[in-house]
């Protein structure tokens, strides 16, 4: 990217310089000297539209003015004031006006870019803060998930010592214990790495993603939370879906948010099974659709309101989670929507563009 830009810059400056030399030659040779110099505005415009800084545009304008004056003086230095001077004056005014306008335009554009960059950074920071807050809600679950394999490791370790210290050491049992120690160690490491990747703070990056795999990881993260709330997590219609393009961490965040949201939406449900369904399917327009359906009490009024900032139905909710989900999904070229189910609860669904087949 940087090398590409540098090359573009070199081509720009070379062509601007070439045009400037051509105008200088034409100006010096023309009988209408001074008038031809008005063409220097082309050089200024070339440099400005090529994306040079406002300072470089100003420099170019001054250089063009100096060349116009220089070429004029070479021939007319001893002449009394005449029409040629007027022509030069008009050209200089044109060059000056073009330069000032271009400088102003470049400055405004630079400000706009800066504002856009700041906005992008703030939304990345907001998304990160929301991820960390989601992880905060999951702390007890995560600690438990890590504790479970660790205690299995300790138990298998002590078990192996017992098998070894028998009168005839039982080596196959020892081997089985060691295998279990390795498997549980990997299980703990997997949990840690999933948590770490969610807590990571980095600029979003578009890459091909397997939504089925991401959904599986998100389900693993909230599994304990679901159990505590007596919610059954169900994946339905696991049709083969194409890879999508998006930022892994942010899409994971959307999935975890929707699952946590669904679990919390059912906390007052009594007298029927609390079930949260996750469905992946291909959608029209080369998109993939992920739907999370709960069987809570639904949303009163327009369900789309749940994506508005500060809209919440929870006593302890901030109302930012789903609004951040919406900006994440939309920033990656998808749509998010919510609809009340015919019987119970809400389905929140989002789409993401399928990765082009030639992508790796």
């Amino acid at each position: 990217m940087a090398a590409h830009l540098q090359k573009r810059d070199r081509v720009l400056w070379a062509s601007a310089f070439a045009v400037m030399l051509l105008i200088l030659a034409a100006d010096a040779l023309s009988p209408l000297q001074g008038a031809v110099a008005v063409l220097y505005v082309i050089v200024v415009l070339l440099v400005a539209h090529g994306g040079a800084t406002s300072r470089a545009v100003l420099g170019t304008g001054l250089a063009c003015g100096a060349l116009a004056v220089g070429a004029f003086l070479a021939d007319h230095i001893h002449e009394p004031f005449n029409a040629a001077h007027v022509r030069l004056g008009v050209s200089l005014v044109a060059i000056a006006a073009t330069t000032l306008l271009s400088v102003e335009q470049r400055r405004a554009e630079a400000e706009r870019n800066e504002a856009r960059a700041r906005l992008e950074q703030s939304s990345a920071e907001l998304a990160h803060a929301s991820r960390v807050s989601t992880l905060g809600q999951l702390t007890a679950s995560i600690a438990h998930e890590v504790n479970q394999p660790l205690s299995a490791i300790i138990t298998y370790g002590k078990s192996a010592k017992r098998w070894l210290s028998r009168d005839v050491p039982d080596l196959p049992e020892v081997t089985a214990c060691l295998d279990q120690i390795v498997a549980n160690g990997s299980r703990a490491a997997d949990i840690i790495s999933r948590v770490r990747s969610l807590a990571r703070k980095a600029a979003p990056e578009a890459e091909p993603l397997d939504l089925a795999e991401l959904a599986g990881e998100a389900i693993d993260l909230v599994r304990r939370e679901a159990r505590a709330a007596d919610v059954a997590l169900r994946r339905i219609g696991d049709a083969q879906v194409p890879l999508v393009t998006g930022d892994r961490v942010q899409i994971q965040q959307v999935l975890v948010n929707l699952l946590m949201n669904g679990i919390q939406a059912m906390r007052d449900v009594q007298g029927r099974a609390r079930e949260l369904c996750i469905k992946l399917e291909p959608d029209a327009g080369n998109m993939v659709r992920v739907a999370v359906a709960d069987c809570g009490s639904g949303i009163a009024g327009d369900p789309a309101r749940i994506f508005e900032p500060f809209f919440t139905t929870k006593p302890d909710g901030m109302g930012m989670g789903l609004s951040i989900c919406r900006s994440i999904v939309e920033a990656q070229g998808g749509r998010i929507s919510a609809a009340n189910n015919p019987v119970h609860g809400v389905t929140i669904a989002f789409t993401l563009p399928a990765a082009s087949p030639e992508a790796p």
Partner: protein, 123 residues
């Protein structure tokens, strides 16, 4: 081991790894163990009346450890119950004690300690 007449120990825990690691350890210690992935499975087996000792988790999907203790009391349990939990709150401890549990252990459970308690209770 000073355990009387080859007692049968039953473990109820929804976590596969916790269950099978304890099973392996107790087997290595020469104790006969039967494991169950849920309270419902345990209640559906003959062991609900014939076990010599039950070790149960508290926090489980479906029927939890407290409800299991209540149900066992209702059907006339004759064996000691050891409770282990990753959430050893005072309330859970008092409720379990009220239901007559013989020991209340916090997870992660040290298997050596668990075996000591089992021997103490059955010995």
């Amino acid at each position: 081991l000073a355990l009387r007449r080859n007692p049968i120990l039953c473990i109820v825990d929804d976590d596969d790894d916790v269950r099978s690691s304890l099973e392996n350890y107790l087997r290595a210690a020469g104790v006969a163990v039967r494991t169950f992935g849920s309270a419902e499975h345990f209640l559906a087996s003959p062991d609900r009346l014939e076990a010599d000792c039950l070790i149960t988790d508290l926090h489980m999907p479906g029927m939890d450890g407290l409800a299991l203790q209540q149900e066992l009391n209702r059907i006339g349990r004759a064996f000691p119950v050891i409770v282990m939990t990753a959430f050893p709150t005072i309330a859970a401890r008092e409720q379990s004690a009220g239901l007559g549990c013989a020991a209340f252990l916090a997870k992660p459970v040290d298997p050596d300690l668990l075996l000591d308690r089992v021997e103490e209770i059955l010995g």
